[in-house]
């Protein structure tokens, strides 16, 4: 398993979260919503420092009025993966998200860290450097990001769209070139569909690719593109 706890823990330590910054974020949170802090249930002991789990809430207990129907979709390995995703979000995303919102971008290194933690392109098979996991791993990742309101990282476009297109429809050469890089986070996948005059109506796009020998010559404009 690439995402067992030990591996991820080491990775997180190596990445060196500035303890002072985390502590001050925690203090600020306590200051502004003191009544709420003790209600937030830590999911697991963080690996270092006193990281307050600001944007998380605990899993719904089954006694809870809003409890979800007992879920039978996931096995033990999926739940292990969920634990490591949560830990990754707690350590690598939540303490910094507010800063990223100010900067209008998530840092490049987050992609490499997510790759090292095995969170990118879960469905890409081992022959292309991926974990070769089933679709439920993608679901787990997106559920945990949603729960943490971690809306910055554009992992969905990268893993579920671009990597998927290349894996399912790309040439062998494209797969061997791009997929390992996308799994590791070395390359970031973006998707250019929408244009100023073509949103839902993809057929109406105007960007042109004109054949010129062994090349295409591309001209046009895209809009609302993340990860670009």
């Amino acid at each position: 398993m690439r995402w067992n706890r030990d591996g991820l823990t080491q990775h997180s330590r190596a990445s060196g979260i500035p303890a002072a910054r985390v502590a001050s974020a925690a203090a600020r949170h306590q200051l502004t919503c003191a009544s709420k802090v003790d209600l937030i249930e830590p999911i697991d002991q963080p690996t270092q420092g006193d990281i307050v789990n600001v944007h998380h809430a605990g899993q719904l207990g089954l006694h809870h009025p809003a409890a979800i129907v007992p879920r039978t979709l996931f096995n033990e390995e999926h739940e292990m993966f969920r634990d490591s995703v949560r830990r990754f979000i707690e350590v690598e995303i939540t303490p910094f998200h507010e800063q990223w919102e100010k900067e209008g971008v998530v840092p490049r290194e987050l992609w490499n860290k997510a790759g090292a933690a095995g969170l990118l392109c879960c469905n890409v098979p081992e022959e292309y450097g991926g974990p070769g996991a089933d679709f439920l791993y993608n679901v787990v990742l997106h559920e945990e990001l949603a729960r943490a309101v971690a809306t910055g990282p554009g992992f969905a476009v990268h893993s579920d769209m671009v990597a998927n297109y290349i894996y399912k429809f790309g040439s062998e050469q494209q797969k061997q070139h791009w997929l390992p890089r996308m799994v590791s986070g070395e390359s970031i996948g973006a998707l250019g569909l929408t244009e100023p005059n073509a949103g839902s109506d993809l057929k109406a796009i105007k960007t042109r690719a004109v054949r010129d020998g062994d090349n295409y010559v591309i001209s046009g404009q895209k809009v609302y593109i993340s990860n670009g």
């Binding site: 809003a66 990223w100 729960r147 910055g152 973006a190 960007t207 042109r208 295409y216």
Partner: protein, 215 residues
Amino acid sequence: MVLACKTDPAAGARGISFIIVETDREGFERGRNLEKIGLKAQDTSELFFDNVRVPVNNRIGEEGAGFSIAMHNLAHERITIAASALTQAEAALEWTCEYTRERKAFGQAIADFQNTRFKLAQMASEIRSLRVFIDECIRLATAEKLDGTDAAMAKLLTTELLGRVADDCLQLFGGYGYMLEYPIARVYIDCRYRRIAGGSSEIMKEIISRDLLRE
């Protein structure tokens, strides 16, 4: 990046190809970050392509296959959005239950007011019933058996529900709900695009009704 381009302007949907364009190629330019109401940490921008040359080998699949490649993966993309949206609604409801039990007004917990109880009950019922449907859709998607209509229903219902839940929960948080420090405020802002991106609610309804009325 993977770019949708017209390779044959006369061929409609069959004239679209997907081409990989490395962003260090000459003629590619990234515009300014767009000023969005939410998703502030995403680098959403405009992109410009001015005679960018890429090898024909960069095309994904056959020439003209772009539209069908995009269609092929849609059910998976939409159930992923639905799974995120429903989980976020569950989290929002959970935070709101905790908050309203603690917060006092007029000598009692907010959760003791009938309005609060009825709102929470309504949201919990809708969330719970959708959870059954969504988990079934996820199960089908994992087995590569989810059809486009179910995926459209899943995306439509979860993102619309999330919008209502975010609004109602924020209201129950009162002034604190308007503060970005509280996750509910960020859910409220960041969930709005869910009803637009990945196929708008109106497109979802078109897909569903087309299937219903098929002869």
